[in-house]
Amino acid sequence: MAKQIILGAHFPGVNNTTVWSDPAAGSQIDFDSFVHLAQTAERGKFDFFFLAEGLRLREQRGLIHDLDVVGRPDTLAVLAALAAVTDRLGLAGTLNATFHEPYELARQLATLDHLSGGRAAWNVVTSSGAFFGENFRRGGFLDYDLRYVRAGEFIQAARELWDSWGSIPGVREAGLFADTGTFAHHSSQFDIAGRFGVPRSPQGHPVILQAGDSAGGRELAAAQADAIFSRHHQLEDGQEFYRDVKSRLAKYGRRPDQLKIIPGVSFVLGDSDADAHERAHHIRRQQVSPQTAILLLEQLWNRDLSGYDAEGPLPEVDPDVSGDSIIQGRAGMYPDRLATAAEWRAKAEQKNLSIRELIIEVTGRQSFIGTAARVADELNRYVQTDACDGFILVPHLTPGGLDEFVDAVVPLLQERGVLRTEYETTTLRGHLGLA
C-alpha cells in the first residue's frame, strides 16, 4: 500500500504570507474564522489543525511591526473552543518551553486531550530571548545554549506528570475516588514535586511535535517527538533532512515510522498551470507590498532603508554586519548577510529587478503551484519518495484559504488512495498511526 499523506491545516499567521489586503480576507481574531478553517480541514479529512503562539508582538527598529497581520488568540483557549465544533480533527498548539512551566502546561494539555476526546497535540518550540522575557516573570532567564536542554527536560517532566496517576477514578462502593499518586522531577531546569490534578487522558500523552531545525532541535525530535514541523519543502533538501533525522532514531530505540516529518508548505491552484502561476505572482505582489519589500530588505541589510524606493534599484551600501539584529520577535534568517546580499545583487542585475521585484523572487515563494491534479501528484511524489510524510498547509487567506484545496485536491488524493475518505480512528495518535 502507498504511504498515506498526513495533512495539517495551519491557521494563517502573523507574517507576510498572510494576505490581509485581499477583499476576501476575514478577521484574524473572530472565532468564526477559526471555526471555518477547522471545519474545512475536517471536511477534507485532515489529521490536524495547527496554531502558532504569540508571546510578544514583533518589532523592527524598536517599533511594533505594522505591515503584517497583528494579533492572535491564546493557543490553548481557542483549541479548547474548537474541540466543540469539530469531531475528529486533531488540535495542535504551539507552546513555548521557555515561557511556560511543566506542571501548568501538562495540566492544560491533559485537559485539552480530555475535552477533545484524545485530539490534543503540542508543538514544542524554544526561545531564549530577553525580548519575549519582558512579558514574563522570569524575564530573559535562559541561556541560548540551554534552550533544547530545557525543552527536553520539560517534555520529560510532562510525560512523568501524565503518567503519574495511580488509578482510574473511581471505586464508588468503597468510597475511593482515585489515588493520584505522586511525582517528583529533578533535573537541571526543574525541581518540582507533588500530585498532578488530572487523570491519564485519552491519548495518554498528547502528540508531541517539534519545530526546531538546528542539530539540537533534530536530536530533541529524535529522542522525544512524534512529528517534526520542518521547513524543508524542496524535494532533495527534504529527502536529505528526512534521512538525517530518521537515522538518529535508532540510538533511542525508536523505529523510523515513530517520527513523522511534516514540512510547512504553501500552494496556489489554477485552472491551468499557467493560470496558477499567474495567480501565484498576483498573490506574491499582495504579500510583498512596497513597504513590506523595504522592510524585508532591511531584515537582511540590518539597517534603516526607509528612504529607498521599493520600485527602484537595490541600495549601494552593504548590509550592516556589526550590530545586533534590528528585528525582534522572529527567528534569525541570514547567517551570512554579505554573501546573501551579493547573491541578491547578482540576481537583481541579471534580471534588472527593482527592490520589490527582487524580494518577490527571493523570499517565500509558494511551494506547490499548478492545477489540482499537478499539485496532488507533486504532494504525493514528495511523500512516496521520502522527502516527507505529509504537509502542514499554510493558506494565504483567512478564513477561506483552504476551501479550494479541500474541494479540488483532496478528492484527487483520495482517488489515488493516499488520503482517508473517512476517519477510521477517534484520536490524533490513531490518525497518525502512532501507538
Binding site: 490581509w20 489586503s21 481574531i29 473572530d30 472565532f31 508571546l55 510578544r56 508582538l57 511594533i64 505594522d66 505591515l67 497583528v70 494579533g71 492572535r72 488568540p73 491564546d74 490553548l76 483557549a77 481557542v78 479548547a80 473552543a81 466543540a84 465544533v85 515561557f99 511556560h100 512551566e101 501548568e104 495540566r107 492544560q108 485537559t111 480530555h114 475535552l115 519582558e134 512579558n135 514574563f136 516573570r137 524575564g139 496517576w165 482510574i168 477514578p169 473511581g170 464508588r172 462502593e173 468503597a174 468510597g175 475511593l176 475516588f177 482515585a178 489515588d179 526543574f190 525541581d191 518540582i192 514535586a193 507533588g194 500530585r195 490534578g197 488530572v198 487523570p199 507590498s289 513597504q291
Partner: protein, 391 residues
C-alpha cells in the same frame, strides 16, 4: 426589585460526598459531556453566569474525595460555542501563573463566547502548590492578595493595550494596524514586570468581568480594589445586611449551598444521607467486597453535627428557597450564587423549580447581552484611549 442569579459548578457538586451519589461514572467530570450538559442547563434557564471552580494544585489528596479537576478556563472555552446566553466565569489562580498568559486566555474566552467571559480570581495558599512550580518558597499569606492585585492590574492593562480601532487595514500605506493605537503597559511591581502590549486584540467586552470570593479582611480589601463583582458568604439575612454595608461599590453576590427538591423532606433526607457517607470511616474499609463475601459491616451512623461549608447550607423546597433569596435581596445583595450540593440533581432543581418561581414572582428578569450588560456594569472605557482618564 430584581435579583441576579448565578450558579457555581464544581466536580459532582459542592458536597464532598456528591461524587458517591452522582448518576454518572465518577470520572465523568473529566469529560466534555459533563460540562456541556451542566452549562447548557444553566444557559437554557438564562442564568446570568456560571462559575467553574479550580485550584492550581489538585483539589484534595484524600483518595476518598475528588482528587482531580480539569483546567477551568479551558472547560469554559470548550462549552462556549455550545451556549448562547450564560456568562462563563472560570476560576484562574494568580500565585503560580503568568499574568500575561492569564490575560490572553481570558481575552480569548471572551472572543469564543462573544462577550460572555469573566474571571474568578483565586490565590494559591498551600505550600505544596509552590512545590508544583518549584521556583520560589510559598508567599506569606499577607502578600498573596497584594500579588493578586498586581496580576489583575496587569491583566486589565493588557486588555486595554489595544484600542478598539487599532486594526486599520490601510492598503495605501501598507499598514494593517495603527501602532499608535497599541500601548506598552510597562507594569513594574514588587513581584513581576510586564511590558506589553497584549498579543490579543481588545476583547469584545473590553474588560471581561472580574470576580472574587471574599471572606477575610485581606480578601475584602482585594475584592474592593480589583473586582467588578464580589462573592460573599453570609450566614443569614442579617449577616448579609452587615456584609453589604461593609462592601465597596461592586455588586455583591451571596453564596448559598443548595439541596433542593419539590418536597422539602427529600432535600433534607438527601443531605443527611450524604453526610452519613462522610462519617463512614471510609479509608479503613476493605477496598471492595468480592461477590459472595459478606458485605462490609454497616456501622451505626454516629450522631454528628451536619457537614458545614464556608457558605450557608440550604436544604428544602422551592418556595422556601425563593423566600430566603428574596429576604437576602431585601438585605441588599445584588445577586446570589447558588452552589448545587450535587450535580446535576440540584442544578436541575434550581433551573426547573426555583427559576420559574422567581420569574413568576417578578424577581428574576434576566437581561440578555454581554456579561457586563447582564450585570448592569457600564461599558468599559479604554484607559489608553484619548479622552479617557488614566487611573
Amino acid at each position: 426589585m430584581t435579583l441576579h442569579l448565578a450558579v457555581a459548578l464544581d466536580g459532582h457538586g459542592w458536597h464532598p460526598a456528591a461524587w458517591r451519589v452522582a448518576p454518572a461514572d465518577p470520572a465523568a467530570i473529566f469529560t466534555a459531556g459533563h460540562w456541556a450538559g451542566l452549562v447548557a442547563e444553566a444557559d437554557a434557564a438564562e442564568l446570568d453566569f456560571v462559575t467553574i471552580d479550580d485550584t492550581f494544585g489538585p483539589p484534595s489528596d484524600d483518595p476518598a474525595r475528588v482528587t482531580g479537576r480539569l483546567d477551568a478556563v479551558l472547560v469554559a472555552a470548550r462549552v462556549a460555542p455550545l451556549t448562547r446566553h450564560v456568562g462563563l466565569v472560570p476560576v484562574a489562580t494568580t500565585t503560580h501563573t503568568e499574568p500575561f498568559h492569564l490575560s490572553t486566555a481570558l481575552a480569548t474566552l471572551d472572543y469564543v463566547s462573544r462577550g460572555r467571559a469573566g474571571w474568578q480570581v483565586r490565590v494559591s495558599a498551600r505550600p505544596e502548590e509552590a512545590e508544583l512550580l518549584g521556583l520560589r518558597p510559598p508567599l506569606p499569606a499577607a502578600e498573596l492578595f497584594a500579588e493578586a492585585a498586581d496580576a489583575v492590574e496587569v491583566v486589565r492593562r493588557l486588555w486595554d493595550s489595544w484600542q478598539d480601532d487599532a486594526v486599520i487595514k490601510d492598503v495605501a500605506t501598507g499598514r494593517f494596524i495603527d501602532r499608535e493605537r497599541l500601548h506598552y503597559i510597562d507594569f513594574a511591581g514588587e513581584y513581576f514586570r510586564v511590558k506589553g502590549p497584549s498579543i490579543v486584540p481588545r476583547p469584545p467586552q473590553g474588560q471581561p468581568v472580574i470576580t472574587a470570593l471574599a471572606h477575610s479582611p485581606a480578601a475584602y480589601e482585594f475584592a474592593a480594589r480589583s473586582a467588578d463583582v464580589v462573592f460573599v458568604t453570609p450566614a443569614d439575612a442579617a449577616d448579609a445586611s452587615a456584609i453589604v454595608a461593609r462592601a465597596g461599590s461592586a455588586p455583591v453576590f451571596a453564596d448559598l449551598l443548595v439541596f433542593l427538591d419539590e418536597r422539602a423532606g427529600s432535600a433534607i433526607e438527601r443531605r443527611a444521607r450524604l453526610d452519613e457517607l462522610l462519617t463512614e470511616p471510609e479509608r479503613s474499609e476493605p477496598q471492595r467486597s468480592e461477590p459472595g463475601q459478606s458485605e462490609p459491616q454497616q456501622r451505626e451512623p454516629q450522631q454528628r453535627e451536619p457537614w458545614q461549608s464556608d457558605a450557608a447550607v440550604f436544604a428544602g423546597g422551592p418556595e422556601q428557597l425563593a423566600d430566603l433569596l428574596i429576604s437576602w435581596r431585601a438585605a441588599g445583595v445584588d445577586g446570589v450564587r447558588l452552589r448545587p450540593a450535587t450535580l446535576p440533581h440540584d442544578l436541575t432543581a434550581i433551573t426547573r423549580l426555583l427559576v420559574p418561581l422567581l420569574r413568576k414572582r417578578g424577581v428574576f428578569r434576566p437581561r440578555l447581552g454581554s456579561l457586563r450588560q447582564r450585570l448592569g456594569l457600564p461599558a468599559a472605557v479604554n484607559r489608553y484611549s484619548e479622552g479617557a482618564s488614566v487611573g
